[in-house]
């Protein structure tokens, strides 16, 4: 194996042409995924997580979409490839699992028919061999009685089982990278726990990299090796799961963690409450830090220029915030005053409190 990571994304920028001007969904994000590693992209709805992963293999209509930057898989740049060459990678080296399995399965065909079709598209095998493999795949993803269930239709499977079938289908090609976009959001917690464990087991078995997209920080803490926190299409903070959960540094990460029921980040003593305000308009992004209009620590300098460059706090733990110098700890930011967190809007810069 070379030094190249499995997946290296650099300067990924996805925009859409709309009637109200250029909509910037993803604005220059970088991240890498190694083999056998789970990287979580986390953010609120509208933060650009899904568009980012769909941009990897160009799963967007272009135009109106426009994807810039580089996406390298094993060192090969996918953005340079022709549509046909890219198609070879989709499903083969990069497989996707989406949120709603019922939308992704064809309810007119048996589960086995669909799995066998997927196997035979990618491999030149007989129907019988493909069926045997399909049964094994269902077995691998934990469907009981796979040899009888294979002849059933999707409606005969429960929600969790359908998601397991989707995972089986993604495994058909033994992908190098599995992209899971909110795979457990539509499921009950008891079922979710099983699916998360399955993904974790499969990651080890198949030596895949997993890129896991979710808005749920609790899920992130259970499955991630590394975390990338997105806000309005840019990276706010990144690091190992322990860095991000135990030493959250960006004000946004901190507020997001403080929203979690039962989470005590230990840094802010303030009462639990939401984050005031809402995501900025993607057709008219603010100057400076994207989070500044809602940030309790915002100063005049926060709203000037571009999103601050990422500052390296410790090994691989970076934050995009002007309050930090390289090597700083999270204690650089004092606990926010209660009133500052309430005020939220940029009209009342709480610089006096933080100074």
């Amino acid at each position: 194996m070379t030094d190249e990571p499995l997946l290296a994304v650099e300067g990924l920028r996805t925009t859409f042409e709309t009637d109200s001007g250029e909509l910037v969904a993803v604005d220059g994000i970088d991240f890498t995924v190694e083999r056998g590693e789970t990287v979580c992209l986390v953010g609120e709805s509208g933060s650009g997580k899904t568009v980012a992963v769909e941009s990897l293999t160009g799963l967007l209509d272009q135009p109106p979409g426009r994807i810039e930057g580089s996406v390298r898989l094993h060192g090969e740049d996918l953005t340079d490839l022709s549509a046909r060459a890219l198609r070879r990678h989709r499903g083969a080296s990069i497989a996707y699992v989406f949120q709603n399995p019922q939308d992704a399965l064809n309810h007119c065909y048996t589960v086995g028919w669909q799995l066998v079709e997927a196997i035979r598209v990618h491999e030149d095998v007989t129907k019988a061999a493909a069926r045997a493999r399909a049964i094994n795949l269902l077995d691998t993803v934990g469907i009981p009685e796979p040899a009888s269930r294979i002849d059933e239709y999707p409606h005969q499977f429960s929600g969790g089982e359908k998601q397991r079938v989707m995972i089986a289908m993604a495994l058909v090609t033994r992908p190098d990278l599995l992209v899971a976009d909110e795979p457990t959001t539509a499921l009950d917690v008891t079922i979710q726990a099983g699916i998360l464990r399955l993904l974790d087991d499969l990651k080890a078995e198949y030596g895949m990299g997993v890129l896991f997209v979710t808005h749920d920080l609790a899920t992130v803490s259970q499955i991630a090796d590394r975390v990338v926190v997105l806000y309005a299409g840019t990276v706010m903070e990144r690091g190992t799961v322990l860095d991000v959960f135990e030493r959250p540094s960006h004000p946004y990460t901190r507020e997001l963690l403080a929203c979690l029921p039962g989470h005590e980040s230990g840094l802010d003593g303030g009462a639990r409450g939401g984050i005031a305000g809402s995501l900025p308009d993607p057709t008219d992004l603010p100057n400076g830090c994207r989070f500044a209009p809602r940030c309790a620590y915002a100063e005049a300098a926060c709203s000037a220029g571009d999103q601050p460059a990422e500052v390296d706090l410790a090994d691989g733990h970076t934050v995009s915030c002007i309050h930090y110098e390289p090597g700083d700890g999270p204690s650089v930011l004092p606990a926010p005053a209660d009133s500052a967190a309430e005020a939220g809007e940029s009209g009342t810069p709480p610089t006096g409190d933080t100074g």
Binding site: E145, G160, P261, G274
Partner: protein, 472 residues
């Protein structure tokens, strides 16, 4: 809190009849969506109702409000000036919602309000939000338009919006703001009871926290009782004084929220709690994993309804097996008896397992895929000996090579042999007799664990081992 509960639900039952078989079939099946649920809500109290999807939480709510007609049971509502009523001589209660006539129902619905999960679909897109909210007092007889406007404007401010939002339309609001509007609409008639059915499940976590805090504030401000329905335990834990846990149409545990979550007395509550991801990366793994999926409410398991998935399922007297082995034995028995294991399919699965090394490389040991290309001598499972096959069947169902209990071992060996020889019925007969659990035979009653904390598990009966709260 006064002595009388605001809402008292007794043996509430809702069965749906569905047709079985073809389109014109006369056969019917009863789906026991809610099957004998009882609880009280006191004035100013928030009761959480948690459980997996399909357990009957929402049906319970709509039966209480009589949005669906309950099949049986009593719902006694003592709010809206009905306090202190005594039972009639014939045993009926004047405040029983299930017996209300049209006029009584209309006043009842003023005093009990409902908010839903999806605020977008519960507002008319062609009506200004103010008009939507003001429609309620109009229906209930407030004809003074200026007064309605003043009341609604005041309420909009109390839920964190502004009175000027009266003339705006639903699409101009974000998801969280719409849920605030839904709260304003629920409160405009000054109700005693608010039923909230998954009110924050569709919202981002940053907004969820806001809405929960608002519901909590309004509860204190308006002295509301809240029935809070959610599948999200962490949310219930945050807001509710007491919690009831539902499984397949029944309440399996109820009590003060802290007692239920800190010291669960029912295995289902334990498993549910353990499945909730904690936002702490250091506490991974060690979840209690529930096997199987929720059984169908049209044919619920006998005895304790949870026994088909329970990790604490009781072993019969004299048996002393490791609990996970016992669980897997029961799972195997369950499938054989239900006829889910088709002998032909078992053989196909065995062939598929041993055939992969030839066909495409093992699914499990991917690393060995490259050297697995030469066809092995025993590639075809059907060519192997019977003992090999038997061992493979056991491996496929995670059963040990020999079960420690000699009698059960004989039954399992017979059943596996019967399955391999294609006789599913004989396998089912033998296993059904040899592998039994008291949990399948006895319907557990709710037992008391202090301070109104009650749970329905057989292990609490003196004749069984007792409920071990230690690690499983």
């Amino acid at each position: 809190m006064s002595d009388d509960p605001l809402l008292s639900v007794r043996d509430l039952t809702k069965h749906y009849t569905t047709s079985r078989g073809g389109l014109f079939s006369r056969k019917t099946a009863r789906v026991r969506a809610v099957d004998g649920v009882s609880f009280d809500i006191y004035p100013g109290e928030a009761l959480g109702l948690v459980g997996e999807s399909g357990c009957g939480k929402s049906t319970t709510a709509s039966s209480i409000l009589r949005l669906t007609e309950p099949t049986a049971g009593e719902v006694i509502f003592n709010g809206g000036g009905r306090e202190g009523a005594a039972r009639n001589d014939d045993g009926t209660h004047p405040n029983d919602v299930t017996q209300f006539d049209r006029a009584e129902l209309k006043t009842f619905r003023r005093d009990a309000q409902l908010i839903f999960q999806d605020p977008t679909s519960s507002f008319d897109p062609r009506m200004s939000v103010g008009a939507s909210i003001a429609e309620l007092p109009l229906v209930h007889g407030m004809t003074d338009a200026d007064r309605r406007r003043a009341i609604v404007g005041d309420l909009l401010e109390r839920v964190g919006l502004s009175a000027a939002d009266y003339d705006r339309y639903p699409h101009e609001f974000s998801g969280g703001e719409k849920q605030r509007l839904a709260l304003a609409r629920a409160l405009v008639l000054n109700p005693n009871l608010l039923v909230a059915d998954e009110p924050v499940s569709a919202l981002d976590v940053s907004i969820q926290a806001d809405i929960l805090a608002l519901i909590d504030d309004l509860r204190t401000e308006f002295g509301l009782s809240v029935l809070f329905i959610s599948h999200d335990i962490s949310v219930v834990r945050e807001l509710c004084d007491r919690t009831a846990v539902m499984y397949l149409g029944e309440i399996v545990e109820i009590g003060p929220t802290e007692a239920v979550f800190e010291n669960p007395q029912h295995p289902y509550t334990e498993a549910l709690l353990s499945a909730v991801p904690t936002p702490d990366p250091r506490s991974r793994g060690d979840h209690i994993e529930l096997t199987g999926s929720v059984p169908s409410p049209s044919n619920p398991p006998s005895g304790c309804r949870f026994h088909t998935r329970c990790h604490r399922v009781i072993q019969p007297e004299g048996m002393d097996m490791e609990q996970p082995v016992w669980r897997r034995l029961l799972d195997f028995r369950e499938r054989v008896v239900a006829g889910e294991i088709d002998p032909e399919a078992v053989r196909e699965r065995l062939r598929a397992r041993s055939g992969t090394s030839v066909a495409a490389g093992g699914e499990i040991d991917r690393g060995a895929a490259s050297d697995g290309k030469s066809p092995g001598a025993d590639a075809d499972a059907t060519a192997g000996t019977d003992t090999d096959d038997a061992a493979r069947v056991r491996a496929a169902y995670d059963l040990p090579a020999t079960v420690p209990d000699p009698e059960v071992e004989r039954a399992v060996a017979d059943a596996v042999a019967a399955l391999l020889s294609g006789d599913g019925d004989r396998a089912a007969e033998g296993l059904a007799e040899a592998v039994t659990t008291p949990c399948a035979g006895i319907d557990p009653e709710l037992t008391d664990h202090g301070a109104g904390h009650r749970a329905a598990c057989l292990r609490h009966r003196p004749e069984f081992d007792g409920f071990d709260t230690g690690p499983v």
